[in-house]
Symmetry: C2
Subunit: 321 residues, 2 copies
């Protein structure tokens, strides 16, 4: 199998490429290197079964040329579409960011899959499609879907065009609704923020919000394992799964404590007001992962273990400079 | 109140403008006249409280200029965004149609509302956001939302950016999920198709699909009445309602019979195969309108009455030529 991974130089993309190559797949990767970096690709870039093109997927001409070059080496069998803006606050400030990087990348991916005759897509969606449903458990069939960030809106829009595409040129689709994913190479996120803040000021860690936000976290190794498990075991034309641990999650305060303990033991912590860290942030949600459990998958690490491991990994990443 | 109606020269737009002017509102209308026509505006165009600009809303520069001219006459208080591609099969053949006319028109509307400081939007969404949920009753909180047409996908995407906009610059939103709406000025739809087919060949009416598709239909007079009722009575920041009659609907065969009886009594009817008229067509659905009923609104006509009245109106429209 020759798999196209979009956003291959990003956090999840590099980990997915590594895992797929390890399992004997061939990888064709595309990235615009806006959030991803070639350095992230160091572990795979010299692999004989790895091909890479730099292109901005929101520019369909550039995308078509890159895909043509990759196809000329190996016919692409399916697409794993991970490219997106992962900077949620940037998309709240300027909706054009998520329009371009989170939605148009999907729209163009589908247009080119039709042109190139590629029938199967696996798509990195997000728990952000659910918006804020209050205390309700978020299962795959929950509604209504009113996202509270443009990132979530453009992930939902992407799901929608994929689902419509199944009525015409697409053959199969896998929609993975990602939870908070942590690990390295970290490019953004609460752990990286805390580590960097403490590097600047080792005496005090300032936390946005009151620290009571509770979320579940999945380590990227578990995430990649889950995606490959779903791809191997889910049998519908349209497969859609929440991906995440089955625990109740940990609070931002817990994460702050882990980082302080590891980076600057004894540093003070200050908290903001309210349980929303930033506009577009969902304060707390109960993420139902029963559908994935019933398919037979279990994470190796729960949220607390994932946070502890990711803190270690991110501290190591940051001290490499 | 000065209301901006986008898509004002279309089927619903013209009826809404008439009703709002009758109730003493001021209307600023925009339309690109691709599907709408100035002829549709004849009943309102000379009204002193009606202003109109031709602009393609997918072109934000043109849209901004048009909105600026309308605002210079009267400050706009809220936007009723109706502009969209109403040609569902066209969007299945080419997703760029609904991207441009159904989604980018919404995206640009929100961007300009932010620029111009307009806080309230009323949006013409669609039952198409639900996709094909089989036998399930489609209530407002039903999920998952996997549309089967690009039209439905881009209506869902529009809802999503509106909901995200409420977290930043929007103050209130009204999302109306339209059913099949019938009446005049008819620009598309099954009744108009049948009437025109019989004009070409009065001996035989060819029906796509086997005629068993059952859908509910709302007359445009009832639709407009419902929208104004919701605007007046719904009190949330984000209000979303299925709009439709509460009956079980009528079949395509019933509609064909009404048209034959009115246009060419004694004409034969031939039917196709399958219960889907075209790709992207949802064969049958049970549209739950309990939320709207609980708000206190009732339609004057049920589906069968609405079809009979619309057939009369469309036959009259077509014989005016």
């Amino acid at each position: 199998m020759n798999i196209l991974i979009t956003g291959v130089a990003g956090f999840v993309g590099t980990n997915l490429a590594k895992a797929m190559l390890r399992r004997g797949g061939r990888i064709s990767g595309i990235d615009n290197l806006r959030l991803g970096s070639t350095r992230n690709l160091d572990p795979v870039s010299t692999h004989p079964d790895f091909g890479f093109e730099i292109a901005d997927l929101s520019d369909i001409e550039a995308y078509r040329r890159a895909l043509g070059r990759l196809q000329s080496r190996n016919r692409i069998d399916e697409v794993w579409h991970l490219a997106a803006s992962s900077d949620i606050p940037a998309g709240v400030a300027d909706p054009a960011v998520d329009l371009r990087d989170t939605f148009m990348t999907t729209f163009n991916t589908l247009a080119l899959m039709k042109e190139f005759g590629i029938g199967t897509i696996a798509f990195a969606s997000s728990s952000a499609v659910y918006g804020d449903l209050g205390d309700r458990s978020l299962a795959e069939d929950s509604g209504p879907l009113f996202p509270i960030s443009n990132y979530g809106a453009m992930k939902l829009a992407s799901e929608a065009v994929i689902s419509a595409g199944l009525e015409s040129h697409l053959e199969r689709a896998f929609i993975f609704r990602f939870p908070n994913v942590i690990g390295t190479p970290a490019t953004h996120g609460v752990i990286l923020d805390f580590v960097r803040k403490l590097k600047v000021n080792a005496a005090k860690l300032e936390v946005l919000g009151d620290g009571s936000q509770r979320k579940s976290y999945l380590h990227v190794d578990d995430l990649v394992d889950a995606l490959l498990f779903i791809r191997a075991h889910a049998g519908d034309r349209l497969n859609y799964h929440n991906v995440g641990p089955s625990d109740e999650g940990v609070t931002v305060r817990f994460i702050a404590e882990q980082v302080v303990q590891r980076v600057a033991p004894g540093a003070g912590m200050t908290f903001g007001r309210g349980n929303q860290g930033w506009v577009g942030d969902v304060p707390a949600f109960s993420y139902a992962t029963g559908k994935l459990s019933r398919l037979g998958w279990r994470p190796k690490l729960d949220s607390a273990q994932a946070v502890r491991r990711a803190v270690d990994e991110i501290v190591a990443q940051e001290s490499r400079g």
